[in-house]
């Protein structure tokens, strides 16, 4: 179980997140939602250890991860970060294989089992055909899938993803989120798309200005009142006619948009 306990991050006198308290149960998918700059990425950075919190702690099964080595954390928590741009001409295969680096000391030497892991991750992310391609020649969405594959070969218990659907086309957005829901891993994912979040997340944590504004099931959190209070937009809650999932419709007056487009 992953727990954020009164997590605070202060940078240059500004509180980016303030006393954040959040639990993600084993196998649970929790979506982190909020406007730009509300602290989603900051909170995730603390979990994958790119940032040390200035207060509070991130607990993994009750143990403060700050007390373990980076490598120990990396064996259990894998991340899809936002700075994932590469400059070097690595092949897709090489990038995915680096997911094994927390499990080894020194230079990578993949066992047959580990190579099978890498191939399976490529297949899962539908990028087997790209294995020998340079990552620099991929589209944004293809690259995103490569990085998810790398996170998977880390064989983590917890998957932390910072806006994983960025650059993905609709099909791969839906497939990735479906995968997150079904993979059985503990997932903490920052998302922008409220409807995708409502469809796949067990629970949603809504951030506003670094604090937790609401936390609960999609139905509890994504009410028109809360969404308006946090995002400042008017929405209508509807039930998906086929899946029964909660969905939001944005109340954009049709004539206004027409006026803009003409």
């Amino acid at each position: 179980m992953l727990s954020l306990r009164e997590l605070s991050v202060e940078v240059a006198g500004t509180m980016l997140i303030r006393e954040l308290r959040l639990d993600v149960g084993v196998g649970e998918v929790v979506g982190l939602l909020g406007p730009n700059g509300s602290g989603k990425s900051t909170a995730l950075r603390c979990v994958y250890r790119a940032l040390a919190p200035s207060g509070g702690a991130v607990l993994l099964d009750g143990t403060d991860i700050a007390e373990q080595g980076l490598r120990d954390t990396a064996r259990r928590i894998a991340a899809l970060t936002q700075d994932s741009r590469a400059d070097l001409d690595f092949t897709v295969e090489e990038v995915v294989a680096l997911g094994r680096s927390p499990h080894q000391r020194g230079n990578l030497r993949l066992s047959a089992h580990e190579r099978a892991l890498c191939r399976e991750a490529l297949r899962r992310m539908d990028i087997t055909h790209l294995a020998q391609r340079s990552v620099l020649t991929l589209s944004g969405g293809e690259r995103q899938r490569v990085l998810v594959a790398r996170a998977l070969v880390q064989e983590p218990e917890v998957l932390v993803l910072d806006e994983p659907t960025n650059h993905l086309d609709v099909r791969h957005q839906v497939e990735l989120l479906k995968f997150l829901r079904d993979c059985g891993l503990t997932v903490l994912v920052a998302l922008h798309d409220l409807n995708l979040a409502a469809a796949v997340c067990h629970r949603i944590a809504l951030l506003r200005a670094g604090s937790l504004a609401a936390c609960g099931t999609p139905a509890e959190v994504l009410t028109p009142e809360t969404v308006h209070a946090v995002f400042g937009v008017e929405v209508t809650q509807v039930t998906h006619p086929v899946t029964g999932a909660l969905q939001l419709l944005y109340d954009l007056p049709a004539d206004e948009t027409e006026g803009i487009s003409r």
Binding site: R71, S84, F90, S101, N107, L108
Partner: protein, 368 residues
Amino acid sequence: MVNVPEPLRLFAEPEAARSDTRAARPRRLAGPVLLLSAALVLSLIAGIALGPSNVALSDVLRYLGKAITGGTITGDEVTGYSIVWQVRTPRVLLAAVVGAGLAVVGVAVQALVRNALADPFVLGISSGASVGAAAVVVFGLFAGLGVLALSTAAFLGALGATALVYLAARSKFGLTPLRLVLTGVALTYAFQAVMSVLVYLSPNGQAAQTVLFWLLGSLGSATWASLPLAALGVAVAVVVLLRYGTALDVLSMGDETAMSLGTDAAALRRWLFLLTAVVTGLLVAVSGSIGFVGLVLPHVVRMIAGSGHRRVLALAPLVGAVFLVWVDLLARTLVAPEELPLGVITALIGVPVFLVVMRRRGYAFGGR
């Protein structure tokens, strides 16, 4: 209560793993390394055998044999022997050491600052060395060290410059790549200003000459004494860096990703910075700042061998050594008895080779 689905057991496929025979094996390294080592030995012999004064190959080999096994030479052999053993051999060996060192440090620096245009001198090291050397000429520093005064001062200048760059670039977010490069470039201008003042104050033209040597780079002052420290530094760098191949791969993925993969990017960068600074300082002290090698050879090796640092770090020093031995040979024979600056030859050979390889391989460093 959350409804948790059965885990997919994504990777629980021991059967598939065991029967796996078509797994892509890591590309072999031994062949290219052997080939390049053989090329290096031949290049060293060619470098020692050829030169402005004509010494027959059989004589060259005989002198080398005698020098190594401790035989005696006759009176009329003294000239040839000293050309081969006192002049050419240390120079050719130094070319190999410096070429290997610049190439391997170039690879490390490019990974360290995550910048394709970085070379060993981007962090202000060469201009710092020039300031040190100019100070010796103008103020007569380290006079007690005799011929080693210039090298010592250049080394200390290089280290001083590195320390300044480090302190100025440091922030509470650690040593970020862009800050390092910007600080290095900015301080290079400052060191050049100091150097210009020193040259201007210098009573004779000697300071200008000395500074020019350090700025352009040359192997003309090679002696046996200049070899051991530089060779040791390069050997240590190669051995250490080879063990950090995967760590450098991880570092190239970006700092946040590196942290999420269990590699402390800030600590690794500090460490690499120290290692590359000391080795570059040792190289600059004996050969000045020979450009091009540390910038372009890492790219040439990546184009041919791929970007995986373990391969690149194994091949780059050999390629660099062979390259600089031949460049130096051309520099001292093309217009003998005059010598061409090394930079002229590195550019004449290196640039066309670089362009051809880059165009043929569809190299995509830095993205589309």
